[in-house]
Assembly symmetry: C2
Homo-oligomer: 183 residues x 2
DNA sequence: CTATATCTATGACGAGCGTCATAGCAACTG
DNA sequence: CAGTTGCTATGACGCTCGTCATAGATATAG
């Protein structure tokens, strides 16, 4: 089975989350994953664009998976469960890590619009699942969507603030405010 | 007077806002600003690091200036005035533009921590001014700070979502939710 | 045990980057 | 007019990047 391919994608996702796409070179990915250099264009014939896309999809799927593992039965706990993932990542990385999707979205130039489309898909899928979970615990549909998008935006922004600040404080602050939106 | 220097900084700020720091080369800055290539290390002897820092400070100061030009007398209007700037930028750029500070913060690698410090300063100065403006219209101090940080995080995140989505919708959604926080 | 597909290894390529040295030009000072 | 200072012009440097060709290793299947 293709073990080193998975490692490469995982490393790329992690590195791009904490330094953006452009600052993540193949050399970095290989060093971090321990994968052999020669395998790059065997596993990713379309080059870096393809590796980036895979890293984005992996990240997106991992987040969706975490969300689906929720057993929340109130609006507060739906949000708390979503936020917990990011809270954990920030703490574990000492506020160095960020979001892969954001790291790509910001770095992308006008010519590779397909990566932007992948980012759009990712954000949209999170928003729609989060929104659905909120409606299932009684939040009105339109409001649920607004809160879902606001939550995602706040988290993405908070990850940036946390990185600049070197602390989790921004994330904890948005958590309290987001919760007050559903009370 | 150093006209081309100002243009370089302005171009760098703009470009880094919409494609991050690493994807913004000196060639891009020169092409965009029309500045002569030879002037780079005359005006910025410390190289790209210095140009980046100047671009960040310019952006930060412009935002502070806009905030200070507010004559808002309610919490809602304080937030609305702050948000209007970003709303305008997104619309004017067809959702391509982002924030210079975020574009640097995400791209920076572990070794140049001083740029992270500049980002921290920028975010902190926005947060403290916004917080101050909120307290002056009657919001309780601790709540004011939480709302200020949440607003900034939401905006930064929304800029990313807007870019991915190709629309202003995410920004308008967070606007409505932020306003409901102060009602 | 051979054959066939999958993965790894090594290294070279052209391009673009940030950097910088050096020289020419402008413009103001005394 | 002479001289000093500030800006522009040109181009080369070393490096790293993404890309790719080619060949060797490994394993799975008949």
């Amino acid at each position: 089975m293709s073990d080193s391919r998975d490692k490469m994608v995982q490393s790329a996702a992690s590195l791009m989350g904490s330094r953006g796409m452009n600052a993540t070179s193949f050399s970095d990915v290989l060093a971090d994953s321990g994968a052999p250099r020669g395998s790059i264009y065997h596993h990713f014939p379309e080059g870096k664009r393809q590796l980036t896309e895979c890293a984005m999809r992996l990240t997106s799927d991992q987040i969706l998976e975490h969300m689906r593992a929720s057993s929340a039965d109130t609006a507060e706990s739906v949000l708390t469960h979503f936020l917990a993932l990011f809270h954990h990542v920030v703490v574990a990385s000492h506020a160095r890590a960020g979001c892969t999707i954001a790291g790509v979205t910001i770095d992308v130039t006008d010519d590779d619009d397909d990566l932007l489309a992948v980012a759009k898909d990712a954000f949209a899928s999170w928003a729609s699942l989060l929104s659905e979970q909120l409606t299932q615990v009684g939040v009105e549909k339109k409001k649920a969507r607004a809160i879902a998008v606001t939550t995602i935006a706040s988290v993405e922004g908070a990850l940036i603030l946390c990185r600049a600040d070197g602390s989790v404080e921004p994330l904890t602050l948005i958590e309290s405010q987001l919760l007050s939106l559903v009370r």
